[in-house]
């Protein structure tokens, strides 16, 4: 059995740091996990603190920007802002669908501006997210800096960084989404006829053809409407590089193909049914996208999972090494 489980000191000595059971119900007002900014505020008002007005101003701004209250108000604002967006989007869906096709900046200055009475909430969302991003960064950084101070390092202090890691991860994810909308190139609605002429890919990437192999259709009587519908049309994309090399990959709904930095998505397939009225003609509709920020939000999701695991490990550790109550 580890020593820490059997021989915990009754009273922690002031010189040697020992594990302190975190109070999960009510955060204490002092210590590295303190969620108020009482300590920093005291430090700011301390007579021995920095006298330079500029430094004090910056410090005051930093403290204000990292306030927990501010996060709460911003989140409630964002909740209201997005809630009122529902009827507005429903009323003018045509103005929002191009957001994923033309890119964020173009959309903001075209559709966004032209239909401002329906899109104003989107500007509110952007502003709110920017403010929340600043607040999250300042708040998390302040607490991380307090946690990593040598005098605050108790047993398992590293795991206490878990919630802050998840906060940073959310920031990374939001930046990834922003990058995805701002930097992505999209070529929607590219029609490709399997067995038909080749499609010339952009940026001299070569040519694209398609064939159909092993399509899967909906079987059974459970939903009569879908009888013989193509669940997977069995399309195989063949890429031919300018040098003559070829690369083939199957594509289906929800199963995109990645090629030379571009993603190919199957948007639609005609005819829908194997006994459809198109005879032997087949047509696949593809969307081609280049998303440079995809790696950023995938990284954000991974970091979020790591942060969550650290948080859970910290909770388990707190329970395992908790001192018994007298």
């Amino acid at each position: 059995m580890p020593k820490s489980l059997t021989a915990l000191p009754k009273e922690p000595s002031p010189k040697e740091p020992s594990f302190k059971e975190p109070n999960l119900k009510e955060p204490s007002l002092k210590g590295p996990n303190d969620l108020s900014l009482a300590d920093n505020a005291t430090e700011l008002n301390n007579k021995n603190g920095p006298k330079n007005h500029l430094v004090r101003l910056i410090k005051a701004l930093w403290l204000f920007a990292g306030r927990l209250d501010l996060a709460i108000y911003i989140c409630f604002f964002l909740a209201l802002d997005t809630a009122i967006a529902y009827p507005l989007i429903q009323k003018s869906l045509f103005a929002f669908i191009p957001l994923g096709e033309v890119g964020l900046w173009t959309w903001l200055f075209t559709y966004g501006r032209a239909y401002f009475s329906q899109t104003f909430w989107f500007y509110g969302l952007a502003l709110g997210l920017i403010l929340l991003g600043i607040n999250t960064f300042v708040c998390s950084t302040t607490r991380v800096l307090a946690l990593i101070k040598p005098q605050n390092r108790q047993r398992g202090w590293f795991l206490k960084l878990g919630p802050h890691v998840t906060h940073y991860a959310v920031l990374v994810m939001v930046l990834g989404y922003l990058g995805s909308y701002a930097l992505a190139e999209a070529l929607p609605g590219r029609a490709l006829i399997p067995g038909g002429p080749a499609y010339k890919l952009p940026k001299n990437l070569g040519r694209l053809t398609a064939t159909i192999e092993n399509p899967k259709v909906y079987q059974g009587q459970r939903l009569l409407f879908f009888q013989n519908w193509y669940l997977d049309p069995g399309i195989v994309l063949r890429f031919e590089k300018p040098g003559g090399q070829t690369y083939a990959a199957p594509i289906a709904y929800n199963r995109p193909v990645h090629y030379q930095g571009y993603n190919f998505y199957l948007t639609d397939f005609y005819p829908k049914s194997a006994d459809g009225a198109m005879g032997s003609y087949r047509m696949a509709q593809l969307t081609i996208r280049r998303d440079r920020a995809a790696a950023v939000y995938v990284a954000g999701i991974i970091v979020f999972a790591v942060g969550l695991a650290m948080y859970v490990a910290d909770l388990i550790q707190s329970r395992l090494f908790a001192r018994p109550k007298p």
Partner: protein
């Protein structure tokens, strides 16, 4: 058949809710609630049986009652005294009854699924959404009970809010992955419901942060109770269709 099951579980939940308030009818109430659970789970099974491998459409609210009732029984066990226990169960079953009634009068579950919903991420998105709604509704009921009690049981409220938020976040993450694999974007604006998910997520982020401070003691309970109304307005109404007279086809 499906409509008959909705009528069955709605009326059984309503009956159980009433019986829990009447003394010495506890066994009858439990029996009604149990039969209601079977009918509700049977309805969900039928919807999945028809739709698989696609995801059933507009199931996000009508599938909530059985999970709400399951969570509700788990939460009611924490009350040692009989009255708050009975009141908690009555409110839970009453809300399940209201949700069933809304689904009956404003049905939208007759829509056929679409091919892109044949994805594990789409299924996960729906399942976590249902569990999230159930937990958040229960948090609202527990907050209401805490507000009316002499000693508020805040740990119970916080637990259900946190659980509901975890489910909601997982629902959003799986939805984003599905959206990325299907359309190439983490957020697709073709469906206005996407903003309703965001709205509730932001609402509960704010609420959870209120639970992290020693302030807002009363306000956070009021807001958690109001959260039930919020979820009903923002996330249940999009799953409702135009009003129709409920017809059972046996």
């Amino acid at each position: 058949m499906e409509n008959s099951l909705v009528i069955a579980f709605t009326s059984l939940y309503g009956l159980a809710a009433g019986l829990f308030l009447v003394p010495k009818t506890r066994s009858g109430a439990f029996a009604c609630a149990f039969l209601g659970e079977i009918a509700a789970l049977g309805y969900i099974f039928l919807r999945y049986y028809q739709a698989l491998p696609m995801t059933p459409m507009f199931l996000g609210s009508i599938a909530v009652p059985p999970f709400l009732v399951l969570f509700g029984f788990s939460a009611a066990r924490k009350y040692k005294e009989p009255f708050p226990n009975r009141l908690s169960l009555t409110l839970t079953l009453g809300l399940a009854f209201v949700l069933g009634l809304l689904a009956l009068i404003f049905p939208k579950d007759f829509y056929l699924p679409f091919l892109k919903t044949a994805s594990l991420f789409s299924q996960g998105h729906l399942a976590f959404n249902v569990l999230g709604k159930a937990a958040l509704f229960l948090a609202a009921i527990q907050a209401f009970l805490s507000l009316t009690a002499k000693i508020p049981n805040e740990s119970q409220v916080r637990f259900w809010v946190a659980l509901g938020f975890i489910f909601w976040t997982l629902s959003m993450l799986t939805g984003e992955v599905w959206s990325y694999l299907g359309w190439g974007l983490p957020v697709v604006w073709d469906d206005a419901v996407i903003v309703c998910f965001m709205a509730t997520w932001f609402f509960y982020v704010a609420l959870l942060h209120m639970f992290l401070t020693s302030r807002y003691r009363r306000a956070r309970l009021y807001l958690t109770a109001l959260g039930g109304v919020w979820v009903l307005l923002v996330n249940v109404t999009p799953d409702l269709g135009p009003a129709r007279w409920p017809v059972a086809l046996w």
